[in-house]
């Protein structure tokens, strides 16, 4: 059996093999997994593969690829098989990484402090002054216990002789630890017994250390420190991870516009006022953090943040300016600096790297260009690595000229032949394939020194280029299992991994931006629901081609579709009546085509976008539900869906939206955020129901022939009606149910009384909140006379419906002005 498994897997070669120590012979710490694979029936492995894919897909684990025209949302690539590291090997890696983090922190503290390394000539000035990451305003900022580097990551590679090398250091805002955590969650589930029996070390302790250390160094007196996770926003490549880590660590996820600096302190803008922030764990690049003192073109930053740090009122992790260490040019100086600063030998070497700013190095590099990879010395140069062996004569000449003109901008690195590990082949699920791998490991500062995460993010090359490890360029990832000889700690920070978790965390640090998004979440969810129901009714009636339908209420339905702009409102049906075929096409487009501005797909996209911003507040279940719907919509939008399929997609949309609505009723704490979400929902429903009824009345024929089933369907009240009247719908009872019946959650009265109630509750916190503006309309609703007004042809009801629509519109504007308007963008200005 092993032979079959390894049929496509090279037994010997120039690479170090992570799994095999000899042909067909796994290394001791891989034996359990190997035996498991050999013994597993094909069906079970297929299930395992599917389970991983499903979890990635349903949990919405994504990675944004900048080059992708689709932009956001590429599923994270995760291989089933973990990389396994033995306890003995790990202890060496751990010590080396902790030492390196300590060293880099010392260098950072010196460069942003006394600069003795520069003065003594141990670091060339070009490495500092030529690096755009050297932030001059950050010099001299206080750092408690001289810790500037709170989180550090190193990219490691293993050469054919089995030794590990550091390829690059990540000191700005290292990414991937959250993905490592998510990988762990998925993979430990598919191999639960192996995971337990192999005593794989858990990751949670590492994150607890991070959380405790940040709290330890937070500048605070008595109050519990508030730590926020600062993200550049949903368009960042690793936004998923920001949201995931924020939820995992229990930190509010904030964008720059959520924070403000006042009197030298940082504050979170919440609905109830400003909340002092003590620690900013940043995933935003440091130069973008403060448009006042750092990059002035940053729209993402917090003006005054640097000065708040200068006054010691906020801890920024990593410290502003830490990007400076992300330079290949530094690598060659590390062994000497380690001896000088720590009095120790550097435990793990960097890949041989030459900085061309040294004239002797430049000449050597040019001589050996074929064997080297040329990289930018500074990240600001944004140059993709060039492999000397790939260059033709002309490219080579150009590169050499460029290097001679600005030698200090270049470094050259020895090519490491990466080690290989098995990945599971999707095409042939009984065969392992080899792929090059690299390992990203993480350390965090603690009062007792650097702590290394026992695991990491294993990055897997694409099949096309075994030299490059990049998620941006089609690579994949693996869970990393560090085995232990001792019992492992099973502490977990996740309160409940998956469950009907609250959409909004209670607590006062709800930012105004989040509340605004919740308001719109409510509105869009309701709007999608109304749109989907109307489209379903319209398409059903179109299929059901009996003349009576066309004659009776059909004009009302079509007119409502126009009023909702599902059909082009500019086209006058009297002059230019659409035939059934074009009508059907238009309605299907309004369902599936995102370019129809008010169609279902477009509104779902808006809902999804808002949900995306609320990502860390949505439970996994909700996210899955919505995500699945979006994927289905996208699949149908590619075309070729029959009318039946479109209708069943509409059914599923309605069900999903009901599920989301049920969750807001049943799964959310009743805090301010919930109240705004509910206000959004009620406002939207009020507007939508008023519109529906006014169109229905406008086209009504006051005959016994009126067929009002459609109206009850659009209003989701058909069951109630039937249970009460057991007869064909007629105007009086229908209008009573949809307008006046307080017990019907779709009725106008239900909406407006609910709104009134919420506004009164809001005014307890914020003072008068427009509740009184509802009173006259409530009174007019109350005064409606069943006999006179609840029929087509009257004047009172249509006028009231028009006023209700106007009210909903105005109220929405006024609430936005009052509560969300300060969520505006900063603007920059200079004088010349």
């Amino acid at each position: 059996m092993p032979r079959q498994l390894l049929a496509a897997y090279p037994q010997e070669g120039p690479h170090f093999d992570e799994m095999l120590e000899a042909p067909l012979k796994p290394r001791p710490h891989w034996e359990r997994l190997f035996d498991h694979l050999v013994g597993a029936p094909a069906g079970r492995m297929r299930n395992t593969l599917q389970s991983v894919e499903r979890q990635v897909y349903e949990n919405g684990i994504t990675y944004n690829v900048y080059a992708d025209p689709q932009g956001l949302e590429r599923p994270w690539e995760l291989d089933v098989l973990p990389l396994i590291i033995s306890p003995e090997e790990w202890s060496g890696l751990e010590a080396a990484i902790a030492q390196r983090a300590t060293l880099l922190n010392r260098i950072l503290a010196d460069v942003y402090g006394p600069q003795e390394l520069l003065r003594e000539g141990r670091l060339p000035p070009a490495l500092i002054h030529g690096h755009a990451g050297f932030l001059r305003p950050a010099r001299g900022l206080p750092a408690p216990d001289k810790v500037l580097l709170h989180i550090y990551a190193a990219d490691l590679a293993r050469s054919p002789d089995g030794r590990w090398w550091v390829i690059a250091d990540r000191t700005q805002a290292p990414s991937g630890a959250g993905y490592a955590l998510e990988n762990r969650l998925v993979i430990s589930r598919v191999f639960p017994e192996l995971f337990r029996d192999l005593k794989v070390q858990h990751l949670a302790d590492f994150f607890r250390t991070l959380r405790d250390s940040l709290a330890h160094w937070a500048p605070h007196d008595d109050e519990a420190p508030l730590v926020v996770l600062l993200t550049p926003g949903p368009y960042n490549e690793t936004y998923f991870e920001h949201a995931y880590l924020a939820r995992y660590l229990g930190f509010p996820l904030v964008e720059g516009s959520d924070l403000t600096v006042r009197d030298g302190c940082v504050w979170l803008k919440t609905l109830t006022g400003l909340q002092r922030v003590h620690v900013v764990l940043r995933r935003q690049d440091d130069d973008f953090c403060d448009p006042l003192e750092l990059r002035s073109d940053s729209a993402l930053g917090i003006a005054g943040l640097t000065d708040a740090a200068r006054r010691g009122n906020v801890l920024i992790a990593n410290a502003l300016g830490s990007n400076l260490l992300e330079s290949g040019a530094l690598l060659g100086f590390l062994p000497g600096l380690c001896r000088h600063l720590l009095g120790e030998k550097l435990r793990m070497p960097s890949v041989a790297t030459w900085w061309c700013g040294e004239p002797a190095a430049l000449e050597q590099v040019i001589d050996r260009l074929d064997k080297l990879v040329i990289k930018a010395a500074y990240p600001q140069l944004r140059m993709n690595p060039l492999f000397g062996e790939d260059l033709d004569d002309r490219q080579r000449t150009e590169l050499v000229a460029a290097m001679r003109a600005r030698p200090h901008n270049y470094v050259a690195q020895e090519l490491v032949r990466l080690s290989q590990a098995p990945v599971w082949d999707r095409e042939h699920p009984r065969r392992l394939q080899p792929r090059s791998i690299g390992l990203r490991v993480y350390a965090c500062a603690s009062p007792n020194g650097y702590v290394v995460m026992p695991g990491g993010l294993t990055r897997v090359s694409s099949a096309d280029d075994s030299r490059v490890l990049s998620m941006q360029r089609g690579g994949s990832s693996k869970d990393t299992w560090v085995l232990s000889n001792a019992p492992v700690s099973s502490f977990s920070l996740l309160r409940r991994a998956i469950g009907p978790q609250d959409l909004v965390r209670s607590g006062s640090n709800l930012s105004s931006r989040v509340v605004e998004n919740l308001f719109w979440f409510g509105r869009y969810a309701e709007r999608c629901d109304a749109t989907a129901r109307l489209l379903r009714v319209a398409l059903t009636w179109l299929i059901d081609d009996t003349p009576a339908h066309h004659d009776a209420e059909w004009p009302a339905i079509i007119s409502l579709c126009r009023a909702r702009e599902l059909l082009d409102p500019e086209v006058d049906p009297e002059i230019d009546p659409l035939d059934d075929v074009s009508l059907q096409q238009a309605l299907i487009a309004a369902t599936l085509d995102e370019s129809v501005p008010h169609g279902l797909a477009a509104h779902l996209r808006l809902l999804f976008r808002v949900a995306f911003h609320l990502r860390e507040r949505l439970s996994l279940d909700n996210w899955r539900t919505l995500n699945r719907l979006m994927q289905e919509m996208a699949r149908h939008a590619q075309g070729g869906s029959s009318l039946t399929e479109v209708l069943s997609q509409l059914d599923r949309s309605v069900v999903t939206l009901m599920t989301l609505a049920g969750f807001t009723l049943d799964g959310m704490t009743r805090d301010l955020g919930w109240r705004f979400l509910s206000i959004g929902r009620r406002l939207e429903r009020l507007q939508s129901m008023s519109l529906t009824l006014s169109q229905a009345l406008a086209h009504a024929r006051d005959s016994k022939e009126s067929d009002l089933d459609w109206l009850l369907e659009v209003a989701d009240s058909i069951i109630t009606y039937r249970s009460r009247y057991m007869s064909r719908p007629e105007w009086l009872p229908v209008l009573d149910l949809l307008v006046l019946d307080e017990s019907n959650p779709r009725s106008l009265r239900f909406q407006i009384l609910g709104l009134y109630d919420y506004l009164v509750r809001l005014s307890e916190t914020f003072g008068p909140c427009e509740a009184e503006s509802l009173e006259p309309l409530i009174a007019r609703l109350h005064a409606l006379d069943a006999a006179d007004d609840l029929r087509p042809g009257g004047k009172t009801l249509p006028a009231l419906l028009a006023d209700l629509q106007r009210l909903a519109h105005q109220l929405s504007d006024r609430l936005s002005m009052r509560f969300f308007s300060h969520v505006s963008e900063n603007r920059q200005a200079f004088s010349r």
Binding site: Q115, L118, R119, E120, G121, P124, P125, A126, H129, G130, A132, R136, P137, R139, T260, V261, R262, D263, G264, P291, L292, E293, S296, A303, G304, D307, G357, E358, A405, R406, H408, H822, S824, N826, R827, Q828, A829, F830, S831, R832
Partner: protein, 313 residues
């Protein structure tokens, strides 16, 4: 030794279409104290009143002020009023006896000797000075093999003065250097960046100086308030001599008519006033007026229209 005294009034006025609710600003308006320059008095007035106000020194040793206005306002006025005494900078400056430029370049990039810490800050690209190949091509003609550094810088300054047109309409704060080179026009800030770029492209150290220059009214006419503007020039590092200033806009070596406020790698390090505002939708209007008055002058006529920011020619 000759000594001159000046009063400098620098008024910046922003007008906004809608109220600004929060304004945070960073000012580089306090003249430096230097061996040849004494800042006797310096007063800063901010309207409306600043809710927060901090003074400190920046990375380059310039005095800066950071303030915040929190009351809603449609106008923001910042005026800096300074009294400055200048004395001649050089007893004697012989540009021909300065060291050969290649030697200076090699010394600056030599990593085997103890580094020249101060000048090595100003050798590299900076936000406003991108080192395009065109800069090297333009610069090298002023630096044939063996030419003394300062003689080369002098020649470069003169060529920039000749080859480039002074044209306030041609550029803005955001115009990149490459465009200035291509179009051959700009203002003092562009010429300073250009000359700095040329020098850095050759491996020499050059920094940006912002300040003021005395302008003479046309003969027989009184001095106009606000007729002047902020000015900018270049400082070149020369071993033994130290930093030597060059003004490519006026083709002269700054001395008794140039008042230095701040220096840095380029404009972005020493922007007189830079800030972030909340609100103030639509276009904002900016009016800067600078008046440099020799202190022995008595008659100062008010300008008909203050604030037409004329160049420091």
């Amino acid at each position: 030794m000759k000594k001159l005294s000046y009063r400098v009034e620098h008024v910046t006025l922003y007008e906004y279409k809608t109220p600004v609710t929060l304004s945070q600003q960073l000012l580089h308006l306090t003249p430096r104290s230097l061996p040849w320059q004494q800042c006797e008095t310096h007063a800063l007035a901010i309207e409306p009143k600043a809710a927060e106000y901090v003074e400190r020194e920046d990375f380059f040793g310039n005095r800066i002020v950071q303030f915040a206005v929190r009351t809603a306002h449609e106008k923001l006025r910042v005026s800096a009023d300074s009294t400055i005494h200048l004395r001649a900078r050089w007893d004697e400056l012989d540009v021909k006896s300065s060291p050969r430029w290649e030697g200076v370049r090699d010394r600056l990039r030599d990593v085997t000797q103890p580094p020249l810490l101060d000048p090595s800050q100003y050798l590299f690209e900076s936000p406003n000075v991108e080192l395009a190949p065109a800069l090297t091509d333009y610069a090298i003609r002023s630096f044939p093999a063996g030419r003394p550094l300062l003689a080369g810088a002098m020649d470069l300054m003169q060529r920039i003065y000749q080859d480039f047109d002074y044209d306030p309409a041609a550029t803005t704060v955001a115009t990149p250097l490459a465009e200035v080179i291509a179009d051959r026009r700009g203002v003092c800030q562009d010429f300073a960046h250009l000359m700095i770029g040329c020098l850095r492209a050759l491996g020499l150290s050059a920094r940006y100086v912002s300040g003021y220059i005395l302008t003479e009214p046309p003969p027989g006419q009184p001095r106009l308030v606000g007729a002047d503007a902020s000015h900018a020039w270049v400082s070149v590092f020369c071993p033994r001599t130290g930093w030597v200033d060059f003004d490519p806009t006026n083709k002269l070596l700054p001395d008794l008519e140039h008042i230095s406020v701040a220096w840095g790698r380029d404009f972005s390090d020493v922007t007189p006033m830079r800030g972030v505002i909340l609100g103030g939708g639509g276009e904002q209007e900016l009016d800067v007026s600078v008046t440099v008055t020799p202190l022995d002058e008595q008659d100062i006529a008010p300008a008909n229209k203050p604030g037409a920011a004329l160049p420091g020619q």
